[in-house]
């Protein structure tokens, strides 16, 4: 839990300091941001040893805050991945933002909030907290997309991302409501128990809507159409961050849901996931051929790669199912 608090608190600090250092040196906020990140790394240093082992979702976990926070190797691994992506984004952000003449302090603060949301989303097995993490980093990214507010396309990207993001969040929340209604809990383990004891259409549809909500963030066909417009319009550093970090986090969350709550119901979701992967790979690569703008082309390429990723859970489904049946 501490890492998330550090990231969020340091974000607030950067935000508060930003106005005072506007004239004296814009790079200062970047320095503060980096220091905050280093503090984060220092605090989570003991966790880093876990990375040497294979980041399996079956690894032992530490839970706290009444079971809401669930830290395991899988979560830590993906967190570090995301933070590394954030760091690489930072490396070319300072000069880029200076050239674009956009706000610096706000960017660093928002980046920290986004990372806090992502880490929060990765370190939980409760769908409510997962939703909160998702919304925290989504809202931050909507703002980041419109950061270069002098550009019409940046504003357009932010608006499109926000509208469709709200649309997809609606489905996600509705799915969570159905899962809660069917299982009586939003904890993945308890949903798994309910799915094993009393399977119902309500539970299935809840799962489908959760796949939709997370699929929007991963950008799988047919929930992908915002991607080229947003990636083209958003500042390039934000695009880089979104293309890598958002997808990774949402995909990790999807794996958690599929393996944690519906591991034994793989017959239910494997066809859906597989067909979505097939559609994603095919459509994205075909449309990429017809593009003339390099950023749009890369956007479609990133959609296609999400399709390749999405084909993987199918291969693990049998193992997840056997683990579930042996533990109950």
């Amino acid at each position: 839990m501490l890492p998330v608090v550090i990231l969020a608190a340091w974000g607030l600090l950067v935000l508060l300091m930003a106005p005072f250092f506007r004239e004296t040196g814009r790079g200062f906020c970047g320095v503060v941001h980096t220091v905050g990140r280093c503090r984060y790394s220092a605090f989570s240093w003991p966790d880093w040893a876990c990375v040497r082992q294979w980041p399996s979702i079956e690894s032992e976990a530490a839970t706290t805050a009444y079971g809401m926070v669930h830290v395991d190797r899988f979560g830590i691994y993906v967190s570090i991945l995301v933070l590394a992506v954030g760091f690489m984004t930072l490396l070319f952000s300072a000069r880029f933002l200076e050239r674009e003449g956009s706000e610096q302090g706000e960017f660093y603060a928002l980046m920290l909030f986004a990372l806090a949301g992502m880490v929060l989303m990765l370190e939980t097995t409760n769908l409510m907290l997962l939703l909160i993490g998702l919304e925290v980093f989504s809202l931050t990214l909507y703002v980041l997309c419109g950061l270069t507010r002098g550009r019409v396309r940046s504003i357009e990207a932010a608006l499109k991302y926000f509208l469709l993001g709200a649309f997809s969040s609606g489905f996600l929340v509705y799915g969570l409501a159905l899962l809660y209604g069917a299982a009586g809990s939003l904890n993945l383990a308890e949903i798994a128990g309910a799915a094993a004891e009393r399977p119902s259409t309500m539970l299935n549809i809840g799962l489908g809507l959760v796949i939709v909500g997370l699929g929007f963030k991963i950008a799988i066909v047919p929930f992908h159409q915002w991607v080229p417009d947003v990636y083209t319009g958003a500042p390039t550093n934000v695009t880089a961050f979104m293309a890598a970090a958002t997808k990774t986090v949402a995909f990790a969350a999807l794996i958690r849901v599929l393996a944690g709550a519906f591991g034994a119901q793989s017959a239910l979701w494997v066809p859906i996931i597989t067909w979505l992967a097939v559609a994603t790979m095919t459509v994205a690569n075909l449309v990429a051929l017809a593009q003339t703008n390099i950023k749009r082309l890369l956007a479609f390429s990133s959609i296609a790669h999400a399709g390749y990723l999405l084909d993987r859970p199918r291969l693990h489904s049998r193992r997840w199912a056997s683990r579930r049946s042996s533990s109950t």
Binding site: K160, L164, G208, V212, W226, P271, V283, L286, L289, A290
Partner: protein, 130 residues
């Protein structure tokens, strides 16, 4: 019978035959005007056969080269029109499909939401029938 003497004998015989041939040819083609044409007219079939080297080249061309060229011409045509055609058709079909799918990328949020919703409906119909 020593091997070396046999070898020498054979060499000598071959040399003698060759020299005889050269001598006869010299007599026929250089010493007696018109002898060559007369002999050719007398032994016409034999002359024609030797002149054309037993028609080995013609036989080779008819039996092997002609069918070979025919096959290669056919293969070239097959490669150019069928194989290349298939490859080009793949590319053209891919390109056209991409151009058609590109039309769905209208830039309007409402259209994106509609496609999104169609995906959701398809998924829910599947899930409700499972």
């Amino acid at each position: 019978m020593a091997g070396a003497s046999l070898e020498l004998t054979l060499m000598g015989a071959a040399l003698a035959i060759a020299l005889c041939g050269i001598g006869i040819a010299y007599v026929i083609y250089r010493q007696r005007e018109g002898a060559a044409a007369r002999i050719a007219a007398t032994f016409r079939p034999v002359y024609a056969m030797w002149r054309n080297l037993y028609w080995v080249d013609e036989l080779y061309e008819a039996a092997i080269l002609k069918p070979f060229y025919a096959i290669s011409r056919f293969s070239a045509g097959f490669d150019r029109f069928v194989i290349d055609g298939l490859v080009n058709a793949t590319a053209i079909v891919t390109d056209i499909t991409g151009q058609i799918l590109k039309l769905f990328q209208t830039g309007y949020v409402r259209n994106y939401a509609l496609v999104f919703l169609m995906g959701v409906v398809a998924m829910l119909v599947y899930l409700a029938t499972v």
